[in-house]
């Protein structure tokens, strides 16, 4: 993962509203559209990540997504305006065959797993495989390990093994991400940690490609 984009941050273009048009202060800036899809096992927090990003809020009992949900968010990234169009998909295995409908034109994908569930990383890997073979060949894929709020060490400690409940070590997932050319993040939709970085990096990557 490169550090070049570290300095750039996203700023919401408008008061966060799904689908809202917003007030554009620089009307001459035409937003760059980025179609993004979220994939991952059921209940890893896909919808919560989006909700955190779009509305900056967190719902404890978010209803499971049926089929898929669609949200948008406009952001400023350096001198550009990016409009994220986000497809948030259902995670249960049997919805799998519907996924191509949502990722078929996607420029970016966030594949989410739950750091407290090792099996969810396996599912994430199979999504990555599928995307790399079936989706748009230029797709930018980010791997996001969510729910780190559940494993944050009680006291500051260098040693990760003291984190209770963690089943996927950061290093393992990171190594996998590097090997397959994915952006990598650990996030907490509940607390907001890392969520914005996911979209910033994706935005940067997409701007480069566009």
């Amino acid at each position: 993962m490169s550090n070049t984009s570290r300095q750039s941050t996203l700023s919401s273009e408008s008061p966060a509203r799904a689908g809202g048009e917003g007030t554009n202060q620089q009307p001459n800036l035409k937003p760059v559209q980025v179609k993004l899809v979220l994939l991952g096992e059921a209940a890893v927090g896909k919808s919560s990540l989006v909700l955190r990003f779009v509305n900056n809020e967190f719902q404890e009992n978010k209803e499971p997504t049926i089929g898929a949900a669609f949200l948008t968010q406009k952001c400023r990234l350096e001198d550009k305006v990016i409009k994220f169009e986000i497809w948030d998909t259902a995670g249960q295995e049997r919805f799998h065959s519907l996924a191509p409908m949502y990722y078929r034109n996607a420029q970016a994908a966030v594949v989410v797993y739950d750091v407290t569930k090792a099996a969810s990383l396996d599912k994430a890997k199979s999504w990555v495989k599928e995307l790399q073979r079936q989706a748009n060949p230029n797709i930018v894929i980010a791997l996001a390990g969510n729910k780190i709020d559940l494993v944050q060490p009680i006291e500051e400690s260098e040693d990760e093994s003291t984190e209770s409940g963690r089943q996927v070590p950061t290093e393992e997932a990171k190594a996998y991400a590097n090997e397959f050319g994915l952006l990598f993040f650990e996030t907490s939709a509940k607390k907001g940690d890392g969520v914005r970085d996911v979209f910033t990096e994706i935005g940067m990557n997409d701007l480069i490609k566009i």
Binding site: P64, A68, F70, Q92, E93, L98, P100, E130
Partner: protein
């Protein structure tokens, strides 16, 4: 009330059903166990009449137009059927105590003990605004006149009452009555509790998935913020997952279940789910979700037909309808529109069946495109998915607002967008009938399955960790053969996962190598090992067994596709030495690194077996050479042979050397034999039907049986009369529907004595045949007769063969792939 109507009467094992000729003015389904008394009325001349008194003291007079013989036969049949149903009568009283309508008519103020969560946690919406009391009053009148719960007769006013929205406390009962779930609940008394008890404490993938969703099913409704509400939902969903483990649990079922549980008791909700999954929206929640995908295709078809302009626009901007509509259908609009409106849609859905889903969806499109000029032409101006969803979201969120805010007429101004939606939908799209939906489902179902299967296939192949140097094409063929063998082997297989058992492995191997081909007709199998028709064990096949064990790396007793590919890969892409070693290891049954006498003999038998179809004489000589040399080279001390000696013995013989060098590897052929292909698309279709073994196919057989009129629920006649080929239809005359207060108790035995005695034979064969085959299922809708299932499947496969051939030449459907 007296009225006389012409219509069709249908008698089955457990039910008497009537539908008026115009399909509107009257219909009923009367369970025979609610019949108290049947009397013959002597009206002389040509008309033959029966008077039927039911549990609720309603008297129906049936006048049958037809020959005397027909009438006699009818009388005999109804008498016999009544006798068989008598055993259910004892349950009536306790059952009726669970029906709200009973309490309502006896004492409207009395609280009922069972019902939905709404009784405790309150019903959504403002009771006054909903005019709940007024609606209840109207229903009391209706129920007093036309019977209630099990004996209700539907006259046109019924659907009007449903359309304006059901009153809270009666809603659950009308839902289960309309869907037919009430009849299932009656005949399966106690099953819900039994399922709970039998499976208490058990866990499965489904129960895990259910747990994940319990806290997120209508979380805004107060009951689901409490333990009590959550437990209720958990019990219903898990019980269903045990009832139909193949389906298990699908997200969206939690939404539907949590919604209906507000108005229904657990048991009511359980049986309603059952009717949903089996009959109303079959396949929506199955593991492949083929039903949901199928209905999306049908919906698209309707949009294309009814609104070609809009459809074309969607095509031009490459927007797929399903991205918005799939969730509508899957959660029956519950998640899409405000809850109160969604319940109104559900009222209609349960009354009229799945066509309502289509009608509402079409109407939403119609209103939001210029065609009706009401909501502007927004849908016609969208350019991508995002705008599409946005327009619809906006529409749903304003459903409670006036549709015509600027109209001068106060009355019209009061019409909300939702009112408008409900009013226009059923008018504008009245020609979308249940029959046409069922017809379209039949037309498209196999293409959908095929597409799902090819998707599954690609996914499975993609997820192979190791493709063993096989080409894509080879892998694809191995995949097909693997599942093909599974399909045929399924009946005998003991496994219900997607792993391949030994018997199936024989079949599979036979399909890729001629030496392993099993001549089925000469073989019987005992304890898993093939025997010939004299019961002798075929030693050669032990070789395949050994191979099976060798392939089974996880030692699970079953092979995955990955196991098979790795196993075959090692043989085919190995070399002379590795293959010699493989044979050595296969026969070294105690893995001690030596072959003993017995093992050497087995090796020779394996050779003979593999070579048995070769036309040359060389192999016999070579095998006898092998035996001779082998014993020569065995360690004279222990009479055993090590791997190096075995190598030497093999390499000493040109024939064997050739076999290990290339012959064995090239004996595996990955080609789709051409005759097989032309003989029938059967193979391909079977492949297409395979998903996780043949679960999908099995499921399908089951579903199709359900879709046939032998469906075990007496669906309301208007939903089912499309297929009455061998039903006992006869024209009859329902002369009067009267509530009589005649309380004379008469049990059924009395009435049977009033039946005619003389048995005439002719013209009534259809009654008999139907009795024996079709309606058998009424009694035990849950335990499916397996024979019948298989028949159903085979018939469908036949049908499918003919359909597929058309499809191959014609256009291939490419939905979302």
């Amino acid at each position: 009330m007296k009225e006389s109507l012409n219509g069709k009467l249908q008698l089955s094992e457990g039910y008497l059903a009537f539908v008026a000729d115009d399909a509107k003015s009257c219909n009923f389904v009367l369970p025979l166990y609610t019949v108290r008394r049947v009397e013959r009325i002597n009206s002389g001349t040509h008309n033959f009449a029966l008077s039927i008194l039911n549990w609720h003291q309603m008297k129906l007079i049936l006048q049958i137009n037809g020959h005397k013989v027909t009438f006699e036969k009818f009388c005999n049949t109804i008498r016999d059927n009544l006798k068989n149903q008598v055993r259910y009568m004892k349950n009536l009283r306790s059952f009726l105590s669970t029906c709200f309508s009973e309490a309502l008519l006896v004492d409207p103020k009395k609280d009922i003990s069972t019902g939905g969560l709404g009784l405790i946690f309150g019903f959504p919406g403002d009771v006054k605004k909903l005019r709940d009391r007024y609606k209840t009053k109207l229903w009391i009148e209706y129920l007093q006149t036309n019977g209630r719960n099990l004996t209700l007769v539907k006259v046109p006013y019924f659907s009007k009452l449903v359309r304006v929205g059901l009153p809270n406390k009666l809603r659950g009962e009308i839902w289960e009555l309309c869907s037919g779930a009430i009849f299932l609940r009656f005949v399966n008394d106690g099953m819900y509790e039994k399922l709970q008890k039998d499976n208490a404490g058990k866990v499965s993938l489904s129960t895990e998935e259910i747990e994940k969703d319990l806290n997120r099913s209508l979380p805004e409704y107060p009951a689901y913020q409490t333990k009590e509400g959550i437990n209720t939902l958990r019990r219903v969903l898990t019980a269903y997952s045990w009832k139909d483990p193949e389906l298990g649990y699908c997200q969206a079922m939690n939404i539907v279940a949590s919604a209906i549980l507000i108005y229904m008791s657990e048991e009511q909700a359980f049986w309603t789910l059952s009717v949903l999954c089996d009959r109303l929206i079959p396949g929506y929640y199955s593991t492949s979700m083929y039903g949901a995908i199928l209905d999306q295709i049908i919906f698209e078809h309707y949009v294309q037909n009814k609104m070609p302009l809009l459809y074309e626009h969607f095509q031009n901007v490459d927007v797929q309808l399903s991205v918005a509509c799939l969730p509508w259908f899957l959660s029956l609009y519950i998640n899409s529109m405000p809850l109160l409106f969604a319940f109104r849609v559900l009222d209609c859905f349960f009354m009229e069946g799945p066509r309502v889903l289509f009608q509402i969806g079409l109407e939403i499109f119609l209103i939001n495109s210029a065609i009706l000029k009401i909501n502007g032409d927004e849908l016609l101006t969208i350019t991508d998915d995002g705008q599409f969803i946005h327009v619809l979201k906006k529409y749903f969120s304003t459903l409670d607002q006036p549709a015509h805010p600027n109209n001068k007429n106060q009355k019209i101004r009061e019409i909300t967008k939702f009112n408008e939606l409900m009013m226009v939908a059923f008018k504008e799209f009245s020609n979308i009938t249940t029959e046409s939906v069922i017809e379209l489902r039949k037309t498209h179902q196999f293409k959908v399955i095929h597409n799902i299967e090819s998707f599954t296939k690609r996914g499975q192949i993609r997820n192979l960790k190791d493709t063993s140097k096989f080409s894509k094409n080879d892998i694809s063929i191995i995949y097909d053969k693997f599942y093909n063998a599974q399909f045929y082997g399924k009946q005998k297989s003991v496994r219900n996962d997607s792993r391949m058992d030994l018997n199936t492995f024989y079949r599979f191997l036979g399909s890729i190598s001629s030496w392993a081909k099993l001549d089925d007709e000469n073989l019987t199998k005992e304890n898993g090992s093939p025997r010939d028709n004299q019961g002798r064990r075929l030693v050669g096949y032990e070789f395949i067994h050994k191979l099976f064990i060798h392939f089974d790396q996880s030692q699970s007793g079953g092979l995955t596709l990955q196991d098979v590919i790795c196993g075959l890969g090692k043989i085919i892409f190995g070399d002379l030495m590795s293959r010699i070693e493989l044979f050595f290891n296969l026969h070294d049954s105690d893995l001690d690194g030596y072959l003993f006498k017995e093992e050497i003999l087995q090796m020779s038998e394996s050779f003979l077996f593999i070579f048995r179809n070769r036309n040359d004489d060389g192999h016999l000589g070579s095998v006898s050479n092998f035996i001779r040399n082998a014993f020569e080279y065995t360690d004279s001390h222990n009479l055993r042979m090590s791997l190096p000696s075995f190598r030497m013995v093999v390499l000493a013989d040109g024939y064997l050397e050739e076999f290990f060098d290339s012959g064995f590897a090239s004996s595996f052929q990955f080609i789709e034999p051409t005759e097989e292909r032309s003989k029938g698309l059967g193979r391909e279709i079977f492949n297409a039907l395979m998903s996780d073994g043949m679960r999908l196919a099995e499921k399908f057989g089951k579903r199709i049986n359900h879709a046939k009129p032998k469906s075990h629920i007496p669906s309301s006649p208007d939903q089912n009369n499309s297929s009455n080929s061998n039903r006992n239809d006869m024209t009859s005359h329902v002369q009067s529907l009267e509530s009589s207060n005649n309380n004379a108790e008469s049990n059924y035995n009395d009435s049977s004595s009033l039946m005619p005695r003389n048995n005439s034979q002719d013209s009534f064969i259809s009654v008999e045949s139907q009795k024996s085959s079709k309606m058998q299922r009424n009694e035990s809708p849950v335990s499916f007769g397996s024979d019948e299932e298989d028949d159903g499947l085979m018939q469908e496969v036949d049908r499918l063969l003919s359909e597929f051939s058309i499809d191959e030449n014609g256009k291939k459907l490419t939905f979302f792939l």
